[in-house]
């Protein structure tokens, strides 16, 4: 994994762990950071697909939505008859796993033909897939509540199960009283686990194969890399990340609607990965956190956030095509030319 990554992981864990204590009782910012964490999980997966394997997806919002809707439906439906009557509703943890398996299966089915396409064709195919999923969510009114979505999704059982001495309202740790803080720790633990998994993957045989595909698919397959297999595998993996993030989102917000997974959201995810720097999973986390916090400071823009995202995206791609992370490192390198940097 490398020393730099290990140090960064420890720093991230430290900063993330200290945040609730620094922010104290301000549960609003904690909830914003929960959203940043959820988006980081999706963005890490998308960064593996885009930055390492070099494949674009404009359908990740839909994969996230599949996770959120599956989790929500599996934990709220109470069928009176039929073979599912005895099974549903599932417990939230079981639902999360079932949702991830289902999303992975759909991603495999759609990814196998999609990833034979390249470039613009792949972008359009994933875009069409994403739109079809959203159309189904909107049109299946009886099941999903249509355009207005559905609510009443239960909390994860973990929430509220902290030991009594941590929740002691008299003691120093009373911030654990808040529901949002529970989700905060859970979500950021998942972010760090996702990062550890992804960093290990990148520095393995599979990671090298993926980067070789990004470099040149033809050369990679000539060298004996099964490019089709690896591309589908990384797509399915990123779909699992998106689904888990979607499930966490559904339980955290207790409500899902098509706005959670529409095209705008897919583009937002793409922006996060591009802003942070495509060829780096750390960049994905940076992009997700920045673009989640940014709108909180741009309250005046309200609905015009799309305008801001579009502007940021164009600006970054034109002036820092490798993203903020690498861009800033290069800037520092220019100011203090310790050693020669390329590019």
């Amino acid at each position: 994994m490398g020393r730099w990554n290990r140090v960064s992981l420890v720093v991230l864990a430290g900063v993330a762990g200290a945040m609730p204590f620094l922010l104290g009782t301000d549960s609003y910012y904690i909830s914003v950071l929960v959203m940043a964490g959820i988006r980081s999980i999706v963005a890490i997966g998308l960064s593996l697909l885009m930055g390492y394997a070099g494949q674009i997806s404009l359908g990740h919002g839909a994969l996230f939505g599949l996770g959120a809707y599956s989790s929500g439906l599996l934990t709220t439906l109470h069928p009176q008859s039929g073979w599912l009557a005895g099974i549903l509703p599932l417990s939230p943890w079981t639902a999360l796993v079932v949702a991830a398996v289902m999303t992975a299966a759909i991603a495999y089915a759609i990814g196998t033909p999609c990833l034979r396409l390249r470039g613009h064709y792949l972008a359009m195919a994933t875009l069409a897939f994403g739109e079809i999923v959203v159309i189904f969510f909107v049109a299946m009114v009886d099941l999903t509540g249509g355009p207005s979505g559905f609510g009443g999704i239960p909390d994860l059982p973990y929430v509220g199960s902290f030991p009594a001495w941590l929740i002691d309202p008299e003691g120093g740790y009373n911030l654990f009283v808040y529901r949002d803080t529970h989700y905060y720790f859970l979500v950021w633990i998942v972010v760090i686990l996702t990062l550890i998994f992804s960093l290990n993957l990148i520095h393995s045989r599979v990671g090298r194969a993926l980067r070789s595909i990004h470099g040149s698919e033809l050369a990679a397959s000539t060298m004996g890399v099964n490019t089709a297999k690896y591309k589908v595998q990384v797509f399915v993996l990123s779909a699992i990340f998106a689904s888990v993030a979607g499930s966490l989102y559904a339980h955290f917000v207790t409500f899902v609607s098509p706005t959670a997974c529409e095209l705008k959201y897919s583009i937002l995810l793409l922006t996060m990965v591009a802003v942070g720097g495509m060829a780096n999973v750390w960049g994905a986390v940076l992009g997700a956190v920045l673009l989640t916090l940014l709108p909180e400071y741009l309250r005046a823009f309200e609905d015009y956030d799309v305008l801001v995202y579009g502007g940021i995206l164009i600006g970054i791609l034109m002036f820092m095509p490798q993203g903020l992370l690498v861009g800033c490192i290069q800037l520092i390198g220019k100011i203090k030319p310790v050693r020669k940097t390329t590019g």
Binding site: Y121, A128, G310, L313, I314, L317
Partner: protein, 297 residues
């Protein structure tokens, strides 16, 4: 209404919307031919066309004909500006970067449109009356004839432009071989600029003619672009005649599906067609297998 006239009715509305998909597809083709880029902001040009026309004609009371040309010129300028500001300055961009930058351009234009016009849906009066003409038991709006006429006019003019004018020939040369075109003294960068302006102008015309029937709001672009791309791929990317026919096919299929299956899944039908074509025959039904081999799917 009998079943036959019902089917005819769906086919007529399919032709309406299908010609718009065809025009969007031609816009894709022009830029693709000169640059190899698929401009994902193509749908926004259609949206801008409709919106600007509404402002000029309904808002500023400019008569229909001058407002039409003014709108087309304005949107062409937006297309050219987009190329100059976002595409032109890129140095050796990868396909991934080009896709993201046209996506960014599209959300930027959408955001600006929302900023200017808000979220309302706008109406435009029909070009010549709203009295439907009875046609074998189905009713035909005069606007449909306008849409068909203007689509046919654009296809014809484009054909003449590419065949007989020096600029048109130069653009075709870029499509055939960019390096060779540059070697014989064609300013490729200017042709790229022109292709963006031209396809924006065609998109604008499509937006203007469809607005009286379909209305227009800021959020229409992405779906139009997606279906227009469906038409472009189905017709064989780069083939403008094929694009119009494929546009009709998608439009008719969509309207038949909406009528006989469910209107909620109307948009999904066109997208399913797009996915199936991409998976089974990405060269399109009119594209030849030989030219397909030269392309990068």
């Amino acid at each position: 209404m009998t079943l036959a006239s019902q089917i005819l009715q769906y086919i007529l509305s399919g032709i309406n919307i299908g010609s718009i998909y065809g025009l969007v597809a031609i816009g894709f083709n022009i830029i693709y031919n000169t640059t190899g880029i698929i401009n994902l902001a193509q749908g926004e040009f259609v949206m801008l066309g409709g919106m600007i026309m509404v402002s000029l004609h309904v808002g500023a009371h400019i008569p229909m004909l001058p407002a039409f040309f003014l709108t087309v010129i304005l949107v062409a300028a937006v297309g050219g500006l987009f190329e100059r500001l976002a595409i032109h300055p890129l140095k050796n961009p990868t396909v991934l970067i080009l896709i993201i930058i046209t996506v960014a351009g599209s959300i930027l234009m959408k955001g600006i449109a929302m900023f200017i016009w808000g979220k309302e849906t706008f109406q435009l009066p029909h070009f010549s009356g709203e009295e439907p003409i009875l046609f074998f038991g189905a009713s035909l709006l005069p606007q449909t004839l306008w849409i068909l006429g203007i689509t046919a006019g654009i296809v014809l003019l484009l054909g003449l432009f590419f065949r007989y004018t020096l600029t048109g020939k130069a653009m075709r040369a870029c499509a055939a071989n960019r390096t060779a075109a540059q070697l014989v003294g064609i300013d490729v960068r200017k042709m790229v600029f022109l292709s963006f302006a031209l396809s924006a102008a065609i998109g604008a015309a499509a937006g203007i003619v469809i607005t009286p029937i379909a209305l227009m709001d800021y959020d229409r672009g992405a779906m139009l672009a997606l279906k227009g791309f469906g038409a472009a791929v189905l017709g064989g990317l780069g083939n403008s005649g094929g694009a119009v026919v494929a546009g009709f096919m998608i439009g008719i299929l969509e309207c038949l599906g909406a009528g006989f299956i469910s209107s909620g899944y109307k948009d999904a039908i066109a997208l399913f067609v797009l996915l199936i074509v991409l998976f089974v025959r990405p060269s399109g039904i009119f594209g030849s297998a030989e030219t397909a081999r030269l392309k990068d799917f």
